[in-house]
Every structure is written in structure tokens, then in C-alpha cells.
């Protein structure tokens, strides 16, 4: 759970209008420019190629390092392998002292930030100048970068002018072109005077010993041209097997990072090149390459995190992250920020340092969609969360709640008690707050649904299924929200599937799918839930298992298998269940869909994509088809329909201050459409969005696809009877 100090940092970031404005504007513009840059290119095949060459390098890491060292040495470079940041710093310091270096220029190197190289050099009396404009600003301000590609995105031109005025002892006006000019003049002096250059690289080619740098400002070019001593400080993850493999990364990095076709400069350096020495002679420069580990091998040797090697540090995962967009980079606490940053921090700094920021992940999966390295960032963050849960244990209240959830009888009797207990409260509002986990208390911005008087498991017994010669049998998995809060959705599912000629059964022993435990890092209880449901659902005996909650469907299809892979018997059953499980709209469409029809009464709707349904299962066309096949329904698409609504399981409890603004953005997009109703396929989204609309615009209804079908086709059904 996030601690107090971390919470304080979040609220400071949220109060910083400048930061939020800048990040928000950038996030919006980024999406557009990225899409434009990829026009005419096949993002998928580019990222497939990157994943292929980088995963090859990752699984032949020692070979790559040897090969790189050999080829670079053959070209005259000195290669040093640093296993820790300390080693790297010592090497550079020794070299600088040996060469009597007074002034160093640096062009963008995240690795040097990672190991706090400047501090070491400066305390040895050497002047160190960052030359990337953003990094320089941040250096003058005494801060560290808040973004991998845009280090100073958190500062305004006024702040930059103020920083410049303070350090350069002359007044700077907050005019961007002027500030850039000042930087050019100031840094030009440093470039010309420097006796050593230090830079990072975006790629290190094993085959040829080549280092490749991408920059826009030209600082990379100058750093590798002017000083007679040059040190490349490179993390081992930059290795790429063959020279031409670099093509894929050159294609993706500028497009993904800044929405450019290519950066203004790409510099490829192989071995020492000639440089001017202070006496005016031109000869080969002294050229060093440091390949640094500093915790990386451990990460790449860990099966679950090996894929981090495929990261090309484009930062698109930050740019699309709803949480990052609200709080910016500094909240993450270390040099690497955002989702990928949390993972890197966990390995390169310490697990403890990742403890707070890992909580910021909503698990919405937007980052994985845009990642050119094909990393499943949310999955890795979840793994970190689970390992932390296992090692440290969860706080008592959480643990207690999850223990309750994984005990079906206790959990269900508590829910039944809750439904009675809420009666004295008007409209049943506050009661859900006392329920365990993701059913529990939220913010002032939202109202909460009541626990249903009669849970779906009881309603089920009263539903008459009139299916002659059924084509088959489908088990309905309800999940907590449909079972105890929104039973109507379950009815809708049954009626639609009956119409397709299937009989629906409700296995009584089913209970919570374990998602709350999974997402809070309690694998033990998640496992218990998995076993309970596998045994209850007996997938072997039915044709399909249907769920109308994508989070549950994801558990049935994916999580159970993962949780039980160590037990062959249960794993086989989990596999069977996984194969038969489908989300409602997907199943309905796989069965051929319903014959178009409906009551014809005009209803303007808009559709919200649930993160799990769209990104984990790739289902988004199916529900829309269901809607447009329903007569009377007019579908108006909202902006950012697949952007997370901010519910994200327990997120809305952990971070109401973040969940709130994320929800608000969703509500704005909904209102903009002028629709009468928002259709969703996830009861969690339903609860979140209707909670928000209830307070803000009760005129707009929120309704699950299955429920909408039930309503709009009722008359049809009566007629055909």
C-alpha cells in the first residue's frame, strides 16, 4: 500500500497546475503525432522485428558482450565491463584524473543519471556540463529528469528563465526562442573548451562494435566530435546483434518517442575517430566504452522480466499512461519513471524503491498497446506486486478482506447480511463501503450502488428457460458484481443465450474470481479462488462458460492457468476452462449473433471499452455490432473510448485522488457525445461511471450490453411468443 509520504507527493503533483497542464497537453498531442509518424508503416511488423532481435540478444547476452568487446577493440576502442555503478564511476574518474581533465561535456545519458556520475566528478573538482537542453535546465535547477525523453517537461518557460537568470547572472526573458539562444551560446563555450566528452548510446552493435546515438539538438554530434577523450557509458541492454538490426529501432524510436520520422541527427560511432588536440594537431582520440550491468543481468536472468531487455526507452508507455499524465515523473522517486521505470527501479535501485510507485499502475494495459518492444508492462508490475505481497505480507485489513473473499461461505453470507444492513440508510448508498475489497468505499465524487436485495444466484432459480431441443449447455459465471449488485445483467445474458438455443446453468459453488487478490499481490488467496471456481464450474461438462465481466473472464481464461501451472491435474482443468470461457458479447457473436431487432424506440448511446475486454481479449467490434443490430439504438462514438475509466479494481480505493480525475475525463468525453446512455461490458466500469454520472449528470444512464438487449428486445420476445 502507498505510504503517507508518497501520498503527499501525489497531492503536490496534482496541485501543480503547470505540470498537469503540460503533461495533459503533451499526452493529447503525442497520440496524434505518433499516429501520424507511423502512417504508411506497419507498427506491428516493426515491433515484431525489434522483439526478435532484442530477445535474441537477451538470450545470448554473454556472447553479445564478448562479440561487442572484440569488434570494438579491433577498431581501437578500450572496452571496460562495469558490474556496478561504482565500478563505472571509478573508471571514469581515474581516466579523467590520468588525463588531467578539467571540463567535461555530457550528452544525454540516463545511465550516468542512474549512477549519479556528476556528483562523483564534481566532488573531484571537475566541471561537468549537461548539454541536452532539457538535461541542462534540470541540472541548473538541481533536479533530476522527470521523463526519459523530455527531461524538463515539468518546467515552464518562466521557470526556465528564472533558473537561467540565477545561474548566468543576467536577466533572461521567458521567451522560448531567446532561452534556446542563450543555451546555444553558453553551451557552445563548454563544447569548445571540454577536454572530455561522455555520452550514452541508444544502441550498441555487437557485430561491428558500433554505438548509435539519436539526438535532435546536435549535442551528441558535438560531444563525439570535439573533445579528444570520449567515453561512452552504456547499459548492457543496448546491445543489438547485427548492424542492420539497428534499422528496426531506428524506424521505431523517433516515431514512438516524439512522433518524428527520424531525429535530426543519428550518429554512429565505431572506434576512435580523429579529433583536434589542444596543440592544434589532429589525431585519433582516446576512446573508451563502458558496458555497465548495475543490476541488469539479474533482471534479464529472471524469466518474468527478461523482456525488459526489449525496451528501447522510447517513453511512449509514460506518454499514454493515465496515472503518469496526472502526476508526472518526479512522484516515481527515481531516475526511471512511469510503468517501465517502476520495473527498472525495482532492479536497478531496490525493491523497496519500487514499492510505492508500483501502486500507481492501473493495469489498464494502454502502455503495452503502444510499446514497440512488445513488453507486457502491467503484467510485470503485477509480478512485482505479488512478490512483494509474498515477501512482506499485506496489511492486516487487506489480508483479512482477501481471506474473506476466498472463503465462499463466509463471503456470501457477509454479502447477504450487507443487503439487509443497508436498509436503514436512504437509498442504500453508504453500505457498500463496508464490503470487502473492490466493493468497498470510494470518493465524494461518486455515489455507490446498493447490494441487490436478491442476489443473482437466487434470481437464477426463478428464471424460466424455455429452450426446446437445446443446442448445448453453457455455464454462467457471474462474478461478485453481477451476483450481488447487478443481477439484471445475468438475466440479460440468459435471455440472449436462450434465444440462440442454449440452456444456461448456474453452478452454485462459484465465487469471487480472485481478481482482487491477484491485483493486490496476494497470489495465495487468488490461487484458492481459482481452485474453488475450477471445481465449481466443471467446464468438462458444458460447451461454454460465459461471463459478463471482462475482469472475471480474464481470470478464467488467463490467471487461473498461471496460478495453477505447478499442479498438472489442476492445470489441465484450468486449460479446459480457459478454452471454453468467453466474454458475453464475444460468445454471442461467435454463436452468430442475434437476429437484428428491437423495440425501435430511439436511443442514443455511446460505448465505453473496458480495458480487459479490448486490450486483453481484443474484443471491441463485437459489442458495437450488437448495439447497431438493435433497432432504435444509435451509436455515437466518444473520444478516447478505450481510455481507462479509473475503476481498476481497488485503485479507486487506494488512489481516489487519481481515480477521480481519470473518471472525470471519461465523463467529459461521454457528455460530449450527447448520448442518452453509456453502454459498457464490465460491471466494474458500470459501477465507476454510473457513480460519477449519478452525481454530475443523472440524466445519462449507464447500462451493460446484456441488460440493454434485455430491455430493447423484450417486446420482440413477447411478440414472437
Amino acid at each position: 500500500m502507498a505510504d503517507k509520504q508518497f501520498k503527499k507527493k501525489i497531492s503536490e503533483a496534482l496541485d501543480n497546475d503547470v505540470l498537469r497542464g503540460a503533461l495533459g497537453r503533451f499526452g493529447d498531442a503525442y497520440t496524434i503525432s505518433r499516429a501520424k509518424a507511423y502512417e504508411g508503416y506497419d507498427f506491428k511488423s516493426i515491433s515484431d522485428n525489434i522483439a526478435e532481435v532484442k530477445s535474441y540478444a537477451a538470450s545470448h547476452l554473454e556472447e553479445m558482450i564478448d562479440q561487442f568487446e572484440q569488434s570494438a577493440t579491433a577498431r581501437g576502442a578500450k572496452v571496460f565491463r562495469a558490474s556496478t555503478g561504482e565500478d563505472a564511476k571509478q573508471y571514469i574518474l581515474d581516466l579523467a584524473q590520468r588525463r588531467d581533465v578539467k571540463k567535461i561535456v555530457k550528452s544525454k545519458s540516463m545511465v550516468s543519471e542512474e549512477i549519479l556520475l556528476n556528483k562523483t566528478l564534481i566532488s573531484a573538482g571537475i566541471s561537468v556540463q549537461e548539454t541536452d537542453l532539457g538535461e541542462w535546465i534540470v541540472q541548473l535547477a538541481g533536479q533530476h529528469p522527470s521523463h526519459m525523453v523530455l527531461p524538463a517537461i515539468h518546467l515552464t518557460k518562466e521557470e526556465v528563465a528564472h533558473i537561467f537568470s540565477g545561474h548566468l547572472h543576467k536577466l533572461n526573458q521567458p521567451v522560448i526562442a531567446e532561452l534556446v539562444k542563450t543555451a546555444r551560446e553558453e553551451l557552445r563555450k563548454s563544447f569548445l573548451e571540454a577536454d572530455m566528452g561522455i555520452s550514452g548510446a541508444n544502441m550498441a552493435i555487437a557485430e561491428t562494435g558500433t554505438l548509435i546515438m539519436l539526438t535532435n539538438e546536435g549535442n551528441g554530434r558535438l560531444t563525439s566530435t570535439l573533445p579528444p577523450v570520449h567515453v561512452f557509458l552504456v547499459g548492457i541492454e543496448k546491445l543489438v546483434p547485427k548492424f542492420e538490426d539497428a534499422t528496426h529501432i531506428l524506424q521505431a524510436l523517433p516515431k514512438s518517442a516524439t512522433g518524428q520520422q527520424i531525429t535530426s541527427y543519428v550518429s554512429m560511432v565505431t572506434g576512435p575517430t580523429p579529433a583536434y588536440y589542444s596543440d592544434g594537431t589532429v589525431k585519433d582520440k582516446e576512446f573508451h566504452i563502458i558496458l555497465m550491468d548495475n543490476g541488469r543481468r539479474k533482471m534479464y536472468h529472471d524469466e518474468k522480466f527478461k523482456k525488459t531487455f526489449q525496451c528501447i526507452r522510447c517513453a511512449s508507455c509514460l506518454n499514454v499512461c493515465p496515472a503518469f499524465q496526472l502526476v508526472g515523473g518526479h512522484v516515481y522517486g527515481h531516475i526511471y519513471t512511469g510503468g517501465i521505470g517502476t520495473i527498472l527501479t525495482n532492479f536497478l535501485n531496490s525493491e523497496k524503491d519500487a514499492q510505492n510507485p508500483q501502486n500507481l499502475c492501473l493495469q489498464c494495459g494502454k502502455c503495452s498497446e503502444v510499446c514497440p518492444g512488445k513488453l507486457d508492462i502491467p503484467q510485470m508490475i503485477l509480478e512485482i506486486r505479488n512478490r512483494m505481497g509474498e515477501k512482506e505480507g499485506l496489511p492486516f485489513t487487506q489480508k483479512f478482506a482477501l481471506d474473506v473473499v476466498s472463503n465462499r461461505r463466509l463471503f456470501h453470507s457477509l454479502l447477504r447480511v450487507a443487503s439487509i444492513a443497508q436498509k436503514p440508510f436512504t437509498k442504500g448508498q453508504p453500505v457498500i463501503r463496508h464490503l470487502p475489497m473492490f466493493l468497498s468505499g470510494l470518493t465524494e465524487k461518486k455515489s455507490l450502488p446498493a447490494v441487490a436485495k436478491v442476489p443473482f444466484r437466487d434470481v437464477f432459480k426463478t428464471i424460466k428457460q424455455d429452450v426446446k431441443n437445446p443446442k448445448g449447455k453453457i455455464a454462467l459465471y457471474a462474478g461478485c458484481l453481477i451476483d450481488f449488485v447487478y443481477p439484471k445483467i445475468g438475466e440479460g445474458v440468459i435471455v440472449a443465450l436462450n434465444e440462440k438455443g442454449y440452456e444456461v446453468v448456474f453452478p452454485e459453488g462459484q465465487s469471487c474470481c480472485g481478481a482482487p487478490a491477484t491485483y493486490m499481490g496476494d497470489r495465495n488467496n487468488a490461487r484458492k479462488c481459482a481452485i474453488m471456481n475450477i471445481e465449481a464450474l466443471e467446464a468438462e461438462k458444458v460447451d461454454y462458460v460465459v461471463s459478463a465481466c471482462p475482469t472475471c473472464t480474464h481470470a478464467l481464461k488467463v490467471s487461473f492457468k498461471e496460478l495453477l501451472q505447478d499442479d498438472p491435474g489442476l492445470a489441465a482443468r484450468a486449460e479446459e476452462l480457459s478454452g471454453k470461457s468467453k466474454d458475453f458479447s464475444k460468445l454471442l457473436s461467435d454463436l452468430g449473433g442475434l437476429t437484428p431487432g428491437g423495440d425501435g424506440v430511439p436511443l442514443k448511446v455511446t460505448y465505453h471499452d473496458s480495458c480487459h475486454l479490448k486490450r486483453s481479449m481484443g474484443v471491441y467490434a463485437e459489442p458495437r455490432k450488437i448495439l447497431t443490430d438493435t433497432s432504435g439504438v444509435q451509436l455515437i462514438e466518444m473520444k478516447e473510448s478505450d481510455r481507462c475509466c479509473g475503476f481498476a479494481g481497488s485503485y479507486s480505493i487506494k488512489f481516489p485522488e487519481l481515480s477521480g480525475p481519470i473518471l472525470e475525463r471519461k465523463l467529459n468525453n461521454i457528455e460530449e457525445t450527447g448520448a442518452d446512455a453509456v453502454v459498457v461490458d464490465c460491471p466494474g466500469c458500470l459501477m465507476q461511471i454510473s457513480g460519477g454520472l449519478d452525481k454530475r449528470n443523472p440524466g445519462i444512464r449507464v447500462i451493460h450490453t446484456a441488460e440493454l438487449l434485455l430491455e430493447k428486445r423484450k417486446k420482440l420476445k413477447n411478440k414472437t411468443k
Binding site: R75, R188, T208, E217, S224, T225, I262, S264, V266, P274
Partner: protein, 192 residues
């Protein structure tokens, strides 16, 4: 056919380069290139220029043309002159149509090539029209086929730029503020 193809590549290059605020021209002969360069420099008010020698400049008598236009030409002591010169002129090896990119890939990684194209506020680059390559991928293959990868390979796409302050695009940080590319159809052997 070949000419048509080159023209098509040239057009693509030009569109891409102009998209990133570069200027692009094409001339028939080396001598015409000299004329064009003089006009461009006079128009921009350039008083002196650092020129890195290459056969094409002799062929078109370009140095002489520039001097005759009243512009001072430096052809050595680049470390001293480039920080203050008004412009730099170099011949570059290839051009990538796909992205409007110039490629510097001298086998000897001549440091002056970089000084004359990076420290100056205006870089004027000459390139043979026949050195146009369609894609980045083909360019990488071509570089790979060289006897060895040159010590320094530089891709240049438009002038130097930054968006580091408030995400506002500003042209001209550490590198040139203007990039002028002149394609020359006439074939001139590069001897190194």
C-alpha cells in the same frame, strides 16, 4: 527510366526535408551548383564560409565562384574558423528519400566534415542525385557492405531542433539553424 526514378526519389526527399524546415534544390552541373550556392548565400547575407574540399568543388570551379561573389572562403584551420563562420559547405555521401536524410560516411571519418556541418549556423550540403537511396533499410545495408563501417556515420535530417521547453518546437540549438541541400546531377568521381 533511371532518371524518372531519381526524379521521383528527389521529389520524395524534397517533400520530407521541407517538412522538417530544410531547403532543397537540384541542379544539372557542378558549375550550376556553384551559381546556386552563391545566390543562396548572398540572399542570406553570408559573408564568409568554411568549405571542405571535394572533387565536385574543383569541377564546378565553385570556390572561385564564391570568392567572386565577394564571400570569403576558408578551406583550412577549421577548428579556428568554424565556430564563427557564417556557414559551412560540404559534400555528403548519400541521401535517403524516405525521410529526407543526408548521410555522412567518409571512410576516414574526417573531423572537418563534422566541424563544417555542425558548428556553423547554416550548413550547405552538396550531394549527387545518383546517391539517392530509397529507404533507411537499404541505406543500412549499403553501409554494411562498405569494407568497414566508417568511424563516424552521421545522418542529418533538417536543422537542429529542440522541444525541451514547454514542448514548443524551436529550430537551431547546438547544430545549424538552417540546412540547404543541393542535388547535383553531373557525376563527379569522389577520390579519397
Amino acid at each position: 527510366m533511371r532518371i524518372d526514378h531519381l526524379t521521383e526519389l528527389y521529389e520524395r526527399f524534397k517533400a520530407k526535408l521541407e517538412g522538417v524546415s530544410g531547403e532543397c534544390y537540384r541542379v544539372g552541373t557542378a558549375s550550376e551548383a556553384g551559381e546556386l550556392i552563391c545566390n543562396v548565400m548572398l540572399e542570406k547575407g553570408i559573408k564568409n564560409v568554411a568549405l571542405l574540399k571535394a572533387p565536385i568543388f574543383d569541377k564546378g570551379n565553385i570556390t572561385y565562384q564564391i570568392q567572386s561573389a565577394g564571400i570569403k572562403v576558408y578551406t583550412d584551420h577549421f577548428r579556428e574558423v568554424t565556430p564563427t563562420a557564417d556557414a559551412g559547405i560540404t559534400k555528403v555521401n548519400y541521401a535517403i528519400a524516405e525521410s529526407g536524410t543526408l548521410v555522412q560516411a567518409d571512410a576516414d571519418a574526417n573531423v572537418n566534415q563534422r566541424l563544417c556541418s555542425t558548428l556553423v549556423p547554416i550548413h550547405i550540403a552538396l550531394v549527387s542525385t545518383s546517391a539517392l537511396i530509397t529507404t533507411l533499410k537499404e541505406t543500412m545495408a549499403k553501409l554494411h557492405q562498405l569494407p568497414q563501417i566508417p568511424g563516424f556515420v552521421g545522418f542529418i535530417t533538417g536543422p537542429s531542433r529542440t522541444s525541451d521547453i514547454e514542448r514548443v518546437l524551436t529550430i537551431g540549438v547546438h547544430g545549424p539553424k538552417q540546412l540547404v541541400v543541393v542535388f547535383v546531377d553531373e557525376q563527379v568521381e569522389d577520390v579519397i
